[in-house]
């Protein structure tokens, strides 16, 4: 019943009537077709250009951001390189050679063998099983 009623209601919708000059307007557009066509073409061309512009702007923006990011990364790489070089230089330096001599209430006493050597002094010989110790 609902189905029949629905069809009945749909068919009860009034029909539209075209305006009296409808046919005349269609025929007038028939004569104006080339102009209308070129208008549509121009509109499409403008839309195409707009889309191309938006794409170009997006590309420029992306390129700019990429360049900034690359420059940031390069700066970071340079900083890491500098740090590595500093560490390598530090590792290449001879280690300090200090001999602990003893202490009293005021301080610890050590002998810096590097300074002894630099001053042309004699260096102590390490005590081994075959030696009695001494200086060179």
């Amino acid at each position: 019943m609902g189905e029949d009623r629905l069809g009945e209601l749909l068919r009860g919708l009034p029909a539209e009537r075209a305006p009296a000059d409808f046919t005349g307007r269609v025929l007038a557009r028939l004569d104006a077709r080339p102009g209308a066509g070129s208008t549509r073409l121009r509109r499409r061309l403008a839309l195409g250009l707009l889309a191309a512009g938006v794409l170009a702007a997006a590309l420029l923006l992306w390129t700019g951001r990429e360049a900034a990011r690359r420059s940031e990364l390069r700066a970071e790489l340079d900083s890491l390189r500098r740090e590595t070089q500093a560490l390598e230089r530090a590792l290449a330096r001879p280690r300090e050679r200090l001999v602990y001599l003893g202490e009293d209430e005021r301080a610890d006493y050590v002998m810096d063998l590097g300074q002894v050597e630099a001053a042309g002094g004699v260096l102590p010989v390490p005590l081994t099983a075959g030696s009695q110790g001494g200086v060179l």
Partner: protein, 183 residues
């Protein structure tokens, strides 16, 4: 010319006869306009689309029209294709407006004509509440009297799809109209 059959008018149009074209427009303008007004829900847009429909028939010189087929079905096919393209374009515009402007649908909604009684207004609103892909087959078959095969050709879908869409459209419309169907 008024006494000529549709087939004779189409032969004249294919030969470039403007008088035949004028007679064809005059004969079918109300039917095409009525269908498009129900499909789009806007009288002004329906008029533009109806003009486009007839102009396309002239430009294509009836290409796609077969003498054994009904001219009305052919006209409704052209009208449907144009209207659905226009409605899709409109939906895209509204989507873009929402995306860029973030305000509602970016479109001054134009409802169906407000003449007629409460029942007609409710039916028009119910029809416009349906998606166009459901509304078109319902109108073509239920109101325009096309067969499901002809509606399938007009919509570019299979007969089974037409039937399924009509079924879904009727169910949705029945739900929307609710109490009106009980009166």
């Amino acid at each position: 010319m008024d006494a000529a059959s549709d087939a004779e008018l189409m032969v004249g149009i294919q030969a470039g006869d403007r008088a035949a074209f004028g007679a064809l427009v005059a004969r079918h303008q109300d039917g095409v306009l009525t269908y498009l007004a129900r499909l789009t829900g806007e009288r002004a847009r329906a008029e533009d689309l109806a003009q486009d429909t007839f102009l396309r028939v002239w430009r294509q010189a009836g290409a796609g029209y077969q003498e054994r087929g009904r001219l009305r079905a052919y006209l409704l096919k052209v009208a449907t294709r144009l209207a659905l393209t226009e409605l899709r374009r409109e939906a895209r515009r509204r989507w873009l407006a929402r995306l860029w402007l973030g305000n509602g649908d970016g479109h001054a909604a134009v409802g169906p004509p407000e003449d007629g009684g409460e029942v007609q207004r409710a039916i028009r609103a119910g029809l416009q509440g349906l998606p166009a892909r459901l509304r078109a087959p319902l109108l073509l078959v239920e109101l325009e009297g096309l067969s499901c095969g002809e509606a399938g050709v007009a919509l570019g879908v299979r007969v089974g799809t037409v039937k399924s869409r009509i079924h879904r459209a009727r169910a949705a419309l029945a739900q929307a109209l609710g109490p009106l169907l009980e009166r």
